[in-house]
Symmetry: none
Subunit: 125 residues, 4 copies
DNA sequence: GTGGTCTAGACCACT
DNA sequence: GTGGTCTAGACCACA
């Protein structure tokens, strides 16, 4: 389904979350389609079922999937996902912090700005 | 000198580092000016001296300050600070990850982009 | 006959039970009228026959239906259904817990109360 | 600090959550006051630290506490807790379901309504 | 088979 | 000391 980056600083369960969010937002996991079971995915990624469980639970909390004990975990309609303003604010802080870090490295405002724009444009493709 | 956000998930020592970097890069702490002693700052911020120590060590490692044994810690010349390409790459990853997170929340590419631009513009002032 | 909410966290068999109870208590399923067979209903709802079986067993245990071997399952006389005091106590606990949850969310006693009243009034119609 | 009801149908971590919410909303845990550490509380309640952790995490998610790794978990200002509309809707469903259950037991609309009102009035004291 | 909860015990970074 | 993550393995109810 996807691969984990064991060298990443991101925790495993966060990587699982982000990968599945991407699959849902890109439509690979269509609305209502069943996600792999907790055990299946944990076996597939050779991680502990509890770690997958944690990711699935968080995905449900954020409205990306719904779970039904005994039946499985399913993708929600991505068009119904409503952004959480508190989460947006958090991410804004992260971006601001990263942007400042660039300037702290000795880059000018313009240089730092260009790097950010470049990263975003790259993502567009 | 500055304030810490105790409710933030950023670690204390990182907050100290970022604040001092800001003071140096904005010229508030001019080249050669003495930073508060570890004890002084830890008392001022009501945090553990070890935490300040750790921040100072990291600032020295990154070339923002130098310590003269027995005399104290001093700000380096900000114009001599050279960006570390590996660090830039790391920050780029952080920015990309944050940008994707915005999109995962249900925002369109344009909406996410606008948020980032806005954050940066705000910082300019 | 009725529909299930597959996204609900209520278990399927509980939903089946509640729906049938409703049909009996509202008189749609009059005394003595035959319920759909396990196979029929499971096909109709596209759920596992075991799940329907379990619901029917529970309905019988609670005195809402009776089964005649080889003939089927039939609705009991709703006027003969006597409230079980222990069950009432259980439900009272559920209501109290839900009410507290409303207050924990930051609602005042009055606000929480109004919500409950509203839910009940809505049900009257 | 509080006691768990091991005979309850509620899961342990949910009981921990509800108990702490109550302590915060009643002001026993004032804004900024430190909660017992994960290990401390787990020892106190003779449950596993992971279970307490789960409860603390959920409490943070809902805005009742904030946590800082290495420092501890602290109560938020209860006046700043904003109700989550989705959660309210969920609880409304629970109340409606419980109310219907009362009627399914053979109680009239008025009888069921009186029970609910009584439960709420009792809570007022 | 499914998800949900729990225990036991470990390791990590931060204070 | 603190919280955060992860593994291993167990038991439960539900489908």
């Amino acid at each position: 389904m996807f691969q984990l980056d064991m060298t990443s600083h991101k925790s495993i369960y966060e990587q699982v979350i982000d990968n599945i969010k991407e699959l849902i937002m890109t439509g690979v996991l269509a609305q209502g389609s069943k996600l792999p079971s907790v055990r299946e995915l944990s076996k597939d990624l050779t991680i502990n079922p509890n770690t997958v469980q944690k990711a699935y639970r968080e995905l449900e909390r954020e409205g990306f999937v719904y779970t039904a004990a005994g039946r499985g975990t399913f993708a929600c309609d991505k068009s119904k996902i409503r952004p959480d303003p508190r989460r947006i604010e958090e991410i804004e802080k992260e971006i601001l912090s990263a942007f400042k870090s660039l300037q702290y490295l000795g880059l000018s405002y313009e240089e730092a700005r260009n790097i950010v724009i470049e990263v975003i444009e790259e993502e567009k493709k």
